[in-house]
Amino acid sequence: MKAGLTTSVVMHAVLIGLGLFSLSSPHSFEAPDVESLPVDIVPVESITQTQEGDKKAPMIEHSAPRPTVNPKKVQDATRVGDNEVDLKTPPTPEPKPRPVEKAAPAEPEPTPAPEPEKSNKPAPSQASAEDIPVPATEREPEPQPKHEVMPDPAKQAAVAENVESPNVKLPESAPIPEARPRPPQAQTAKAPERKVSDKPPQEKKTAEREPEKTDDLLDEVAALLDKQKSSGGGAKRSTQQASLGTEETTTGEKLTQSEMDALRSQIQRCWNVPVGAANVEDLKVSIQFHLDRAGEVQGSPVILSGGGTGVQRVAAESARRAVLQCAPYDLPSEKYEAWADVIVHFDPSEMF
């Protein structure tokens, strides 16, 4: 009896294994490509629906993303200017001669502006590595570390000193920007957002250098600002244990017909067909490429079929050139998973 059971279990396991790894899913029904009206047909199926969570966590009943943790507060930078010792109170900017004032910020401004940008970038990433757990979702508050590190005029003043022309007397120490911008309202804190919000504080700094702004005005402005420390600011706060899932919720969406047509027309206008070939079969090429979120082609496109020598090679190169030239592609970013990998079949036989 035991031998029979063993054999049965083993044979079942073999069958199941074979079935899992050798049988493929049936071919999907290919709808013929037609020039379509702008009607959105959204399929109802959601084959790859996944919940948001943590890949390594066990499955629990209700979905829960990775729990958020408030980042540790970082102390304000108090060493400003050329001082070696921390100051208790921020220094006040000296009034400067007016005519020089106009000329000076024009030059040093652009250079310090990009410099702190660069210095901001490595600094926040360091800060984030130490203090902040890697957010599971991209909606985690990224400006959080930026605020702590950005008011670091020590570097900025150093750069300003370097580019100073001998005639112009720049302030010995740059003022601390009293304006601490609120955490941005937008919940999707991506890298471009960071750059954008870097700029207003820079401009505020130049404004504040002007001696016209009296201290009263500064006080008023300061009073308007919310002096609260920024809270987590994240959209998703969860204190539950994370459950099984992937980084993002995907709903298994496919591109709609009009979106596929949009992609087709974007590539089509760059495809310079080598005409006059004796054999039209030689011009068929299939090419696969990978897109990043911005629609740019990553890596180099791979020729799946076609190519070779002579006219076939020329056809393959014109297909590849078409794909590379028309990047970046304008596709809905929320469906990125659907269009990250693209295969294009070029077939100009209808043109002849």
Partner: protein
């Protein structure tokens, strides 16, 4: 045994769970079909080749003119270039060239060797792929610099279109000058871009229908020297002429066979019939190919030498017929409106070019050797005499516009695009390209 069983079941269960999770597709794949694109000349940037004495600039200029005239390339103005190439051997800054929308880039250098020869080297780059496509160098006499430029243009053309280039070829044609009632017609030969022009005959007598030999540097043509039309052979290097066979009556419309051994022509005997005869050049034997009571003329061999296309009016009107090379099985292939004449078989073998006359208009067109797929490329007041470029891609013909004093040479692409006029010192007619690449 029970624990073994349990372990097995547990392993099987976990494996099933894992494989279920693993078959979750991480990303979907988009597949699209693209069935039409644009047909535009390829934007290409041709930088001046580096040289000490300006030869590089001249060579680059000839290359650029060749590629532009072919209609498949659009050379970008040099004033738009961002990067200045100082060393053609290192990779250029592709971003600078992508910005001006150059899809290909040509850089090169011309230097003089110690023995006085010219060394020309060039590289062709694909800017979007960021790699070199061709790198070649040539040695030649200084006087041959134009040929080097044409050879470079041929290589670039072939690499970027997949078809062999035709820039390193010469054209022989009939140059016409003088008033209409006493025209002087003499043979002339020139490069396909109009350079290096020289006359082959003096012009005392009419010389017509010159045709190149595919294998040797010789031309066959018809001349009225002896009082009546006869077919002659002219050696290009020596200038020596000889009469091909001394036939009674008139002989005209000569053409070489693809192997260069035979000349096929039309002979008009006293009975008023003109029929096709093929003469072997070595043995001087003639073979009669047609024996109809109609006018058969204007023969042309297929590139493999197995068939002949010719004009005949045996059906009542001038039409195009195809027969085997031994004269058997002549059958008509032109069935459109009007009269068809001057058929020429393409060197690629896939098309026959012809002249069609309907109403008061002449048209140049192509059709398949079985008569299907007839396409008209160009229509005009008075135009005829198509000849194929050796790559089977471009057709040259001559046209006289209404009211003009004489005809001029024109080229047109196989797809009907890019009609260009070829510059000649005087009026020109009846051009001929070599049937195959020299």
């Amino acid at each position: 045994m029970k624990t073994v069983m349990r372990a097995l079941l547990l392993v099987a269960g976990v494996a099933a769970a894992f494989s279920a999770a693993a078959t979750l597709p991480a990303r979907a794949l988009v597949e699209i079909d693209i069935n039409k694109g644009v047909v535009e000349p390829l934007p290409i940037a041709i930088t001046d080749f580096l040289s000490a004495d300006g030869t590089g600039t001249e060579i680059a200029g000839v290359v650029e003119a060749d590629l532009r005239r072919s209609g498949l390339f659009a050379p970008i103005e040099k004033s738009a270039f961002i990067e200045k190439i100082s060393n053609p051997d290192v990779a250029p800054r592709f971003e600078d060239w992508k910005v001006i929308n150059a899809q290909a880039l040509v850089t090169g250098r011309v230097t003089e060797e110690p023995d006085g020869r010219l060394r020309a080297e060039y590289r062709l780059w694909d800017t979007f792929a960021g790699q070199q496509l061709i790198g070649e160098q040539f040695f030649s006499n200084r006087s041959n610099w134009r040929r080097i430029a044409h050879i470079i243009a041929d290589s670039i053309y072939e690499r970027l279109t997949g078809e062999s280039g035709y820039f390193d070829t010469r054209i022989v044609y009939v140059s016409e000058s003088g008033p209409k009632d006493s025209r002087v017609k003499r043979l002339a030969i020139m490069d396909q871009d109009g350079a290096n022009h020289r006359y082959l005959t003096e012009g005392h007598t009419l010389a017509l229908t010159p045709r190149f030999s595919p294998t040797r540097q010789e031309i066959t043509y018809m001349s009225y020297e002896s009082g009546h039309p006869q077919v002659y052979l002219l050696q290009l290097e020596t200038g020596q002429r000889e009469l091909i066979g001394n036939f009674p009556g008139m002989s005209f419309a000569p053409r070489f066979s693809p192997d260069g051994q035979k000349v096929i022509m039309s002979l008009l005997r006293d009975d008023g019939n003109s029929n096709l005869f093929a003469m072997d050049l070595r043995s001087r034997n003639t073979t009669r190919l047609t024996s109809s009571n109609a006018i058969d003329t204007s023969p042309s061999y297929s590139p493999d030498g197995s068939r002949i296309v010719f004009t005949s009016d045996r059906g009542g009107s001038t039409q195009i017929y195809v027969m085997n090379a031994d004269g058997s099985d002549p059958h008509r292939i032109s069935f459109g409106p009007g009269r068809y004449s001057t058929p020429v078989w393409s060197p690629r073998g896939d098309l026959i070019a012809f002249t069609r006359q309907t109403g008061g208009e002449f048209s140049i067109g192509v059709m398949h050797p079985d008569g299907t797929g007839e396409r008209i490329l160009s229509t005009g007041f008075l135009q005829e005499g198509p000849t194929w470029a050796p790559n089977g891609r471009v057709i040259m013909f001559f046209r006289q516009d209404a009211g003009a004093a004489g005809p001029k040479l024109y080229t047109i692409d196989l797809t009907g695009r890019n009609e260009q006029q070829i510059p000649t010192p005087a009026f020109a007619s009846d051009p001929a390209w070599p049937p195959l690449l020299e």
